[in-house]
């Protein structure tokens, strides 16, 4: 849908806004590039000069220490200059519009914006209004997309499972509010995963989600049976009780990933979570810290994938 905005006329990446519409070859190129950076990150000197002299602005209109830090580390390992701006939601209160903020930073010769915003489509708006040669990376916009998270999850799956074409992947929990789930779904279907499942109560699955190419399960046992990959989603505190769910405890009983439920998946299944985890809500400690869990490797691979995305974007200038 936004393919034209993030690709140039030669099909090269100019912005990373969503995994939807990214060609399979481009996703694989990002993963392959990330693989090279994984080895850089294992060296004693974890730094390459690819982005020397480039200025990367982390512009976070919604607070997130964790994601911002991973982008910051990735940019620094590429030798870029990184400027962090935690704008929160205060910029509009000050009377400055989103685009005014961006144009001001652009005037400081920014080369790349890493943007997080509470509103879906905010990075698209920015990408439409920056100068040619300035790149935008979506670090999460509303419920819409979190493409680098989706890509690092693909990296993780490929690392442990190699071949996408035979996998059953279940995404469990609050899909409705999850930009991560949407980015995963588009990437998984593009990479040829034959069965992508979403598992959750009707209150937490968005309408017509099956049209994104997934199978819908409300019964957690059926949804987890014979899965190769189980992805649990974070349940935000404010959604644990109210009109969507009666309580965190009941959610844990019905959809929380416990060792018993995980036993329904394949014996070699991996368990993923985009973090930060709520122990005892969407995932039990026994699973999060257990042998199937690849949650920590996800974080490690996340640095390499973000390095790959930035390097590819900057490399396309030349």
């Amino acid at each position: 849908m936004s393919a034209n905005l993030q690709l140039d006329s030669q099909g090269r990446l100019v912005h990373l806004l969503t995994t939807e519409g990214l060609p399979r070859s481009l996703i694989l190129h990002i993963l392959d590039t990330a693989a090279q950076f994984v080895s850089v990150n294992e060296r004693e000197v974890k730094k390459v000069p690819l982005l020397r002299g480039k200025s990367i602005f982390n512009v976070f209109f919604e607070n997130s220490t964790r994601t911002r830090t991973t982008f910051e580390i990735a940019a620094k390992r590429l030798s870029a200059d990184v400027i962090n701006l935690n704008i929160g939601s205060s910029s509009t209160a000050k009377g400055e519009t989103l685009l005014d903020t961006v144009w001001n930073l652009q005037a400081m010769d920014a080369d790349m914006f890493v943007v997080r915003h509470a509103e879906a489509g905010a990075p698209h708006l920015i990408a439409r209004h920056v100068k040619p040669g300035v790149h935008v990376v979506n670090a999460g916009d509303g419920r819409h997309a979190h493409p680098t998270q989706g890509l690092l999850d693909m990296y993780t799956i490929r690392h442990y499972k190699q071949d996408f074409s035979r996998l059953v992947v279940a995404i469990v929990g609050d899909v409705l509010h999850s930009r991560v789930a949407r980015s995963q779904i588009h990437a998984l279907t593009t990479l040829g995963v034959p069965e992508v499942r979403v598992v959750g109560p009707k209150t937490l699955l968005p309408k017509d989600v099956e049209r994104l190419g997934v199978r819908v399960f409300h019964d957690v046992a059926a949804g987890l049976r014979d899965c190769d990959v189980v992805i649990t989603l974070r349940l935000q505190n404010e959604r644990m009780s109210g009109p969507l769910l009666p309580s965190a405890g009941e959610f844990n009983k019905t959809y929380g990933l416990t060792p018993e439920k995980l036993a329904l998946a394949k014996p070699d299944a991996i368990v993923m979570h985009p973090g930060p985890i709520n122990r005892g809500v969407e995932i039990d400690s026994g699973v999060a810290d257990g042998t199937h869990s690849v949650i920590m490797p996800q974080v490690t691979f996340g640095i390499a994938v973000r390095m790959a995305v930035m390097a590819i974007l900057a490399g396309n200038d030349r």
Partner: protein
């Protein structure tokens, strides 16, 4: 002023008349069609070969933005947009700042609009004080000041007892109650139709049941109170079906649709285009198609421009934060013509939806082109292509989903009360 319009294709939607003839206008009324009345000597002749002459359009909703929102648009700019769009009568909703809940405000608006000598303005009074949905407004005094109906606009009215009493009170005096059916709890936070597109884009969904649940309540209250109810801006196929059933059992309800909803659907917002953020939201293609059919078969009484000028900055934000609405007055006629052509309707039938049928909803003497009727006319070139650009619009609102696109049909002359008000 005696005016003669020669060789126009004269279309009167009320009677279905459609023929090339000459129109004679005297003393603000149509004196005759065809032969000139005895002793008629035109002071001005308009040659209209190749043009259609029809009654001036009657628009059930045009926001003029005064008082209170002059940074978005002014009465001058929007009244100019009205005549440039061939609209000779318009109803303006009460959601100004302050809302039209005081007779003084209504009188001021009518006087200011009148002094501009453009279209006729029919204010819709606020149904509740301050549009807060708590106390009913002074309907009697507002009607005396010139309000033709009472409307809650897009403001929520959650307390159904207030609605019940407002309808009872209005019914006592025969005032019409206008409501845009939307349950504010079900709509809460929603910015896009709940469906595949909102799911894909991660936009907070606004479900179709927000409209249909409200319709059920309104129709029940209308039936129990006997109030004359007008349902503004239907957006769903199920909503249309509910209104059709209510009409079939004899309820005196009328309804309208915004012209953009005849042509656009949720898919059109697919790249977060803030110009597609409208109220109610653009819905599924099947909803759009039901609206198109219902307007053609008369279930929907009339189409309106739902003119909502918004300043550029309010659209240069992410989709969900954008001020909803589209400029409508100047694209109204071409979009109505496009709908009629696509539905293969006779021109008179097409135009009726924006003239005679809208006038019937308002209960005003307008929307006719026949001897004796007010000389409110519009001449337009039905073949003329034009591109919607900022420069092409007189309205201060340049917020159009059709920006940059070509439309067909352009107004050349607008006459109100026997005077040429556009161009000039």
């Amino acid at each position: 002023m005696k005016l003669e319009i020669r060789n126009a294709r004269v279309v009167d939607p009320q009677s279905g008349r459609d023929e090339n003839t000459t129109i004679h206008i005297a003393d603000g009324r149509i004196a005759s069609l065809g032969a000139a009345p005895d002793g008629f000597r035109a002071e001005r002749t308009i040659e209209a070969k190749g043009l259609v002459a029809c009654p001036g359009l009657v628009d059930l909703s045009a926001r003029l933005r005064e008082p209170g929102f002059e940074y978005r648009a002014t009465l001058e700019s929007e009244m100019q947009a009205a005549v440039a769009g061939g609209v000779t009568s318009l109803a303006c909703p009460p959601d100004t700042d302050p809302p039209l809940d005081e007779p003084g405000l209504v009188e001021m608006l009518k006087r200011r609009a009148g002094s501009l000598m453009r279209s006729r303005v029919f204010p819709l009074g606020a149904l509740t004080l301050g549009l807060k949905g708590e106390k009913i407004a002074e309907m009697g005094q507002l009607a005396e000041a010139g309000c033709v109906a009472f409307f809650q606009a897009d403001a929520p009215l959650t307390d159904l007892n207030v609605l019940l009493q407002a309808m009872r009170y209005a019914a006592t005096f025969g005032h019409a109650v206008w409501l845009r059916p939307q349950d504010s709890h079900l709509a809460h936070g929603g910015v896009a139709h709940e469906g595949e597109v909102a799911t894909r884009l991660g936009l907070p969904p606004l479900p179709a049941v927000a409209e249909t649940v409200a319709l059920h309540a309104i129709l029940e209250l209308a039936e129990s109170t006997g109030a004359r109810v007008h349902l503004a801006r239907l957006s769903t196929a199920r909503g249309v079906a509910l209104v059709a059933a209510a009409k079939a059992r004899g309820l005196p309800v009328t309804c309208d649709v915004g012209v953009h909803h005849l042509h656009l659907c949720d898919r059109d917002a697919g790249d977060f285009n803030a110009h597609m953020n409208l109220v109610p939201p653009l819905r599924d293609p099947s909803d759009r198609d039901a609206l198109r059919r219902a307007l053609a078969d008369g279930t929907i009484d009339a189409v309106c421009s739902d003119h909502t000028p918004v300043d550029d900055d309010a659209k240069l934000v992410p989709f969900g934060e954008a001020e909803p609405g589209a400029t409508g007055l100047e694209v109204f006629l071409p979009l109505v013509l496009k709908w009629g052509a696509e539905m293969k309707l006779p021109l008179a039938t097409t135009l009726a939806a924006a003239t005679s049928r809208a006038a019937a909803v308002l209960g005003i003497e307008a929307g006719r082109l026949a001897p004796g009727s007010p000389a409110d006319l519009c001449l337009f070139d039905p073949q003329c292509p034009w591109v919607v650009t900022r420069e092409a619009l007189a309205s201060q609102g340049r917020n159009s989903p059709f920006m940059g696109l070509e439309l067909t049909g352009r107004v050349t002359t607008t006459i109100v009360d026997g005077r040429v008000v556009y161009p000039g």
